[in-house]
Structure formats: structure tokens, C-alpha cells
């Protein structure tokens, strides 16, 4: 690990003030950043520890929640209001990592965790445009079973590893940011970038900007939601494909639907095409299949991951059928 300085922020203003300097990284639970620093893939000059900040989950007028960025994953998953109002979020969080890691990891850090692409991690032996811009991508023609089928580029086919973010994308979550220019907000679905020709730039965050909270808009009381994750082993593995979905049905027709996919793209993938097919139409198996096909029409497999297209299709259909069945 390269040498660095460490300081604990006393409040958000202090964190952002310290975050102005070059080479600063904010430290949450450290479950990803410390690992990347040990691999010398991340080489910050200083760490500003923000784990003591923003640790509340507040109710908002109208039924939404404001989740502090410093809330630990376990605290988020076990929160009574989250379990009642956003069961898919609890389901997503507890399907990620291990209990020990969930006790450490923060909400803000979870959003900003980096890909587990093996070539990204292999600093000594592999080309990676994300780690070393312009050096090439060994995944495109390499072992790419876990890689992206949607939105990838010739520069990068890495996937975003978070489960929590997939649920947040389906919930229309809003990310609260604080930087030199003050506070602003961005939809979670717009926070992460597709790789394009700059896969090293992963989010829309400005240098020094700090995630302070995640806002969850209220869900309709008649909607149903869940999160389903498909992986190589039954626990403690990243998703091959995951689906977060919210479905509201009225008189057999889809009144509202929100679908997001994990494990398939460089960002949590909001399935807007599938939603457009479904909205206002019948909540029926044929429509679910048509919607899944519409979303995956743009999917482009690599040499080792064509199975993900069919897996994503079937998982989307299964989740929608499960939710429609609960409502019926």
C-alpha cells in the first residue's frame, strides 16, 4: 500500500473542505477501497474518513425516506421502515457480500464501489482502460463470462457490482451531493456512466463531491416489489444477472412498473424499453416476455456471456410473474 495521510471529518462541511485537495479519497467502510489500495490500483494521497457522518434514516413528508450516506448496509436492511415500504431494497442489500462486509459497508461507498473485473484487478499482468486509460481491454477477447451485455464499448465491458444500486435504480432514488459548489441532487439512474471511450470516469461526480444521502420517493401502497439475484453459488457471490422490479396492477392492467437489471452493464441498468411496453397493457405472461425481449433486443454478447441474455430474459419474466401473482 502506498503511504497516505488519514483524517476523520467532524462534519459534512469539514469533509468537503478537506476533500478539495488533490489526491483525496473519502473513506467509508473500506471494504472496496482498502482492498484496491492494497493492490495499489487506488493510490490516494490522503483519506478523509466520513463514516461518522450522515448515519440517520429519516422519514420524509409524503412517505419517502432519506437515507444518510454513512448508514451501514446492515442498518439499512434491518430498518423497520425500509422493510415495510421498500422490501426490494432490503432484499437487494442482504443478497450482497457477507454479513461481516454488510456490517462495515456504507450506503455511499456501496454506490461508488468499483468493478470486480479480474483484468481491472490484475495491475501487473493485464491491460485495462479503466485502470490505465488507453492501454486496452483484455476482457473483450478474454474471460468475459461475468461481463456486460448492455451498453458496453470496445474500451470496456466491466459490470457494476452493486446489488443495492439495482434496487435504488428501480425506486427512482435521488442522490444528494455536497461539493464546493454547494448541494445538488442527481437521479441514481444518471449518476453512473456507461464506459464509452473513458471507462476510467465512472460517475458524474465532480472532484471532491461527497454523497451525503439517498432519497427514496414514496411507493404506491398497492404496488409490489422484489429483488431476485442469480449467481454461481447460493450465497456470497456477485450477480450474474439480477432484477429489481416494482409492479402496480389495476384491473388486470399495469398501472406502474419499474425494472432495473444488475450484472449486465457498467451501471445499474434501468429497463426503460421493457417498462414502456408494459405500462398500461395487460399484466400477463405474454406481455412480460414481449417486454423482456424489447429490453434485450440491444444486448450484444461477448465470447463467453451470451447465456446472460437468456438468463436476464427469464429472470425478468419470472420476477414480473411473481409480482403479478402476489397482486392477483
Amino acid at each position: 500500500m502506498n503511504p497516505f495521510t488519514y483524517a476523520r471529518a467532524i462534519d459534512t462541511s469539514d469533509a468537503v473542505r478537506q476533500g478539495r485537495a488533490a489526491g483525496v479519497k473519502y473513506l467509508g467502510g473500506g471494504t472496496n477501497l482498502v482492498d484496491l489500495m492494497r493492490e495499489t490500483i487506488e493510490r490516494p494521497a490522503s483519506l478523509v474518513d466520513v463514516t461518522g457522518l450522515s448515519r440517520e434514516i429519516e422519514e420524509l413528508p409524503g412517505g419517502g425516506l432519506l437515507i444518510g450516506a454513512g448508514v451501514r448496509n446492515t442498518a439499512l436492511a434491518e430498518n423497520r421502515l425500509v422493510r415495510q415500504r421498500y422490501p426490494l431494497l432490503t432484499r437487494a442489500v442482504v443478497s450482497g457480500a457477507s454479513a461481516q462486509i454488510r456490517n462495515m459497508a456504507t450506503v455511499g461507498g456501496n454506490v461508488l464501489q468499483r468493478t470486480r473485473c479480474a483484468y481491472f484487478y490484475d495491475g501487473a499482468g493485464s491491460h485495462c482502460n479503466k485502470r490505465d486509460p488507453g492501454s486496452g481491454c483484455d476482457a473483450i477477447d478474454g474471460f468475459n463470462r461475468n461481463h456486460a451485455i448492455l451498453g458496453a464499448s470496445t474500451s470496456c465491458a466491466a459490470v457494476h457490482p452493486s446489488d443495492m444500486c439495482v434496487a435504488l435504480a428501480a425506486l427512482d432514488a435521488v442522490v444528494h451531493l455536497r461539493g464546493d459548489g454547494g448541494e445538488h441532487q442527481i437521479a441514481l439512474a444518471d449518476l453512473h456512466r456507461l464506459p464509452g471511450d473513458r471507462p476510467d470516469i465512472e460517475t458524474m461526480l465532480e472532484p471532491g463531491e461527497l454523497i451525503t444521502a439517498i432519497e427514496l420517493p414514496a411507493l404506491s401502497a398497492t404496488s409490489r416489489s422484489t429483488y431476485r439475484k442469480v449467481r454461481d453459488r447460493s450465497s456470497y457471490a456477485f450477480a450474474l444477472v439480477s432484477v429489481a422490479a416494482v409492479l402496480e396492477v389495476e384491473d388486470g392492467h399495469v398501472r406502474d412498473v419499474r425494472i432495473a437489471l444488475g450484472g449486465v452493464a457498467h451501471k445499474p441498468w434501468r429497463a426503460a424499453r421493457a417498462e414502456a411496453v408494459l405500462r398500461g397493457g395487460p399484466a400477463a405472461p405474454l406481455a412480460f416476455a414481449t417486454a423482456a425481449d424489447a429490453e434485450l433486443a440491444e444486448a450484444r454478447p461477448l465470447s463467453g456471456n451470451a447465456f446472460k441474455i437468456e438468463l436476464a430474459r427469464r429472470t425478468m419474466i419470472a420476477v414480473l410473474e411473481e409480482l403479478a401473482g402476489e397482486i392477483a
Partner: protein, 173 residues
């Protein structure tokens, strides 16, 4: 800067690169906590911080100022084993023993999470306050601790027996 380790004050190292795991093993010579993968994949380095299980390999010691850390050395010792240590012996919950300190610290943290009603991936009803430590719940909740000897059956039996006995004792009080 001070943290508490097994009830004793310990001076935190100045170099922020020192992980909690290396601090325990190399500075305090508490070698019960094991370095398996050193990248958060195996759980061998699991310790309890203020009663919560965490991975000491992914923790920087400097983050734990004022916190209370419990390692396997703080749970029991020869002649006065923790009930879960005794159960691991009786149920053959290990072969080589390398994962055992992490398994035991993890299981103690898990029991606290169950008591608090923290749901898991296999919990059917998220509204459920009193989660039973079923076979499926136990295995899912312990999935962050790998055992390359494959002593899982003994590990599960030892944990299930110990915490079932604790619950009976609590119910009797």
C-alpha cells in the same frame, strides 16, 4: 489514540496503512485472528467490534479509535473455553483449525444479529421480528466464513447446539 482489545487499552499505530488484522497479529501478538486471503473473501480474520462482526483485513486500525475489539483470545482460553469453542471441539467443527477463530467470532456476531431481528437473504417474511435460527438461516448467515477442510457439518452442528441452548436458558430465566 487508543482502542480497547479484549478489555485492555492498546495504542493505535501512527502509520494509517496498518490494517486492524496486522495490528492485532504483528503489533499485539494476538495471532489467534488469522490472515487467510487478506482481501475480504474468506472470513478467517473476523473479529467483533463493539459486538459486531467485521473483517479485520479490510479495516484500517486507525479507524477504530475509542472502539472495543474482541478477538478469539478474548472469548476463552484453555481450561475456560467459551461454550461455542467447547461445542466446536465436541462436534469436530474443524480439521486444520485455521478458519476456526473467524468462524467462532462470526457466529457470536450472528447470534446478536438474529436476536436483533436482522433479516437475511433466506428470510421469507421481512416483517418477522422473531427469526428462528433454522439450518438454512444459519448456513446463509455464516456464508462469509469459508472452511477449506469442509468441516461445515460440524461447524453448523456446534453453532446450532450452542445457540439453541442459550435460547433455552434465556427462556427459562
Amino acid at each position: 489514540m487508543i482502542m480497547t482489545v479484549n478489555g485492555k487499552a492498546a495504542e493505535i499505530p501512527r502509520d494509517p496503512r496498518v490494517s486492524l488484522l496486522d495490528f492485532l497479529r504483528e503489533h499485539l501478538h494476538l495471532s489467534g485472528t488469522k490472515k487467510g486471503c487478506d482481501q475480504g473473501a474468506c472470513g478467517a480474520c473476523t473479529v467483533l467490534v463493539d459486538g459486531e462482526r467485521v473483517l479485520s483485513c479490510l479495516s484500517l486500525a486507525v479507524q477504530f479509535e475509542g472502539r472495543s475489539v474482541t478477538t478469539i483470545e478474548g472469548l476463552g482460553a484453555p481450561g475456560r473455553l467459551h461454550p461455542l469453542q467447547q461445542a466446536f471441539v465436541e462436534h469436530d467443527g474443524f480439521q486444520c483449525g485455521y478458519c476456526t477463530p473467524g468462524q467462532i467470532c462470526s457466529a457470536i456476531g450472528m447470534a446478536e444479529e438474529i436476536a436483533r431481528g436482522v433479516p437475511s437473504h433466506v428470510t421469507t417474511d421481512l416483517g418477522d421480528e422473531g427469526i428462528e435460527l433454522s439450518h438454512d438461516e444459519l448456513r446463509e448467515r455464516m456464508s462469509g466464513n469459508l472452511c477449506r477442510c469442509g468441516a461445515y457439518n460440524g461447524i453448523v452442528a456446534a453453532i446450532a447446539e450452542t445457540f439453541a441452548a442459550e435460547r433455552l436458558a434465556e427462556a427459562a430465566e
